[in-house]
């Protein structure tokens, strides 16, 4: 599949090593992606990486109104460092969207708990935005975010806006904090104790480091949320995005095609198999 040419329309620093980039097509229509899907983004001359759709493209947010596709990128390797350094106006390649996103329809009429760890908030952000745009369609909404330090909490301004809404319970916690931080300190799963939701009629969405999702799913199940209503976004090394190369295999699943979003009831067992 040949990458389409996109240009960086805007970029802003989210955390010390993370940037959010808004992309617009060099020509033709914008790319329409559902919350939870991902694209393969190509830094020309360097390489290609899978990036979750973090906004736009899916009919919500200002980027979408401008016809932009948004990704949040953490500079951890050669490609992501190149993407974070790509200035407005410069070109990148985009393939996709790929994969199955969050099953929003399942959450209609239900309480919703979103548990995000670090940059795991990126693929959950369009989901939350979609729910806020159609707030009456859902029950109580709790957005629980964990990060390493206060400086590493992504989308701080947007989180602050969510916190101001009476119909959203948005809470952030960090692993370590110095003077000046007045928020919570501790693991993100500890926030579940104060989250307001009816476990029997709750749909949960979680994304972040896999070990965090395992603990989050365990805590949700302990609260009484059924395993088939806990959805998590898994990652392995996505390469082709089409389910052909097998690089992202997890047991019987090819995460780029069958996922990245899965039910915990279907994949929970696989997460504790050491060989996978």
């Amino acid at each position: 599949m040949i990458p389409r040419l996109f240009r960086v329309a805007r970029r802003r620093r989210e955390t010390p090593d993370t940037w959010t980039v808004e992309l617009e097509p060099a020509s033709g229509p914008t790319l329409i992606a559902e919350p939870g899907q991902f694209t393969m983004v190509y830094a020309f001359g360097v390489g290609e990486v899978p990036l979750s759709v973090a906004g736009g493209g899916s009919g919500n947010g200002r980027e979408s109104q401008r016809g932009r596709l948004t990704h949040t990128v953490r500079a951890v390797g050669a490609v992501t460092q190149a993407l974070c350094a790509t200035p407005p106006g410069a070109a990148v390649g985009v393939r996709g969207p790929f994969g199955r996103g969050w099953p929003l329809a399942e959450a209609v009429g239900a309480d919703v708990v979103v548990v995000a760890g670090g940059l795991g908030l990126a693929p959950l952000r369009p989901l939350v935005r979609r729910m806020l745009a159609r707030r009456a369609d859902y029950g109580r909404l709790a957005v629980l975010v964990g990060a390493r330090t206060p400086a590493d909490v992504p989308y701080r301004r947007e989180l602050a806006r969510w916190r101001e809404r009476p119909d959203v319970q948005a809470v952030a916690t960090v692993d370590t904090a110095g003077p000046g931080w007045t928020g919570r300190v501790g693991v993100v799963t500890a926030l579940l104790a104060d989250a307001r939701f009816d476990p029997a009629s709750t749909v949960a969405f979680t994304c972040g480091p896999e070990v965090m999702m395992r603990f989050a799913a365990g805590a949700l199940l302990e609260r009484g949320v059924p395993a088939e209503r806990v959805h998590l976004s898994l990652e392995r090394r996505m390469l082709c995005g089409l389910g052909h190369c097998g690089a992202c295999q997890l047991g019987p699943l090819l995460l780029c095609r069958d996922g990245p979003v899965h039910r915990y009831a279907d994949v929970g067992r696989l997460l504790t198999v050491r060989e996978l």
């Binding site: 979750s52 992501t80 693929p123 300190v185 501790g186 104060d194 972040g208």
Partner: protein
Amino acid sequence: MPSPDSALGAGPDAEPPELSASPVFADLDADRAALLAGCGRPVAFAANEMIFREGARAEAFYVIRRGTVAIETVVPGRGALTIETVGPGGVVGWSWLFPPYRLQFDARAVTAVRATALDGACLRGKCAGDPALGYELLSRLARVLIERLQATRVRLLDVYGPAGPAALAGADR
């Protein structure tokens, strides 16, 4: 020491100790709850007020009813670092359980806090006189301690750190 006459003005008669509101003491037999509550008194702390300080004698533990408490320690050159925060229903203070009964960390009210302070010597006395009560109390507190230990272990993994996965945003390492 707790300061029941703090700026919030919650004196001993302001609110009865409501231990059952905490998950730690939920479903506790009414007689035993009454026995434990006999060691308790309501306390209140204003935002930013110290609840206890490292090195002081551990005379009580606190069941938080409202507000948030930060467990802190001072690191030279870095100031007071928050190790953990505890919200409503949580328990703060373990050093009353065993000699030398010395507090290991600071506790500060992040927001206005209302809590039940349970006197350690009183509890130890009641538990010594009623081993079944002691077993019940220590079982419940051990559960909280295990949860805290497990949470601390997860944090030690530093899953959000540079070596951790990056949620479809850094597969090029």
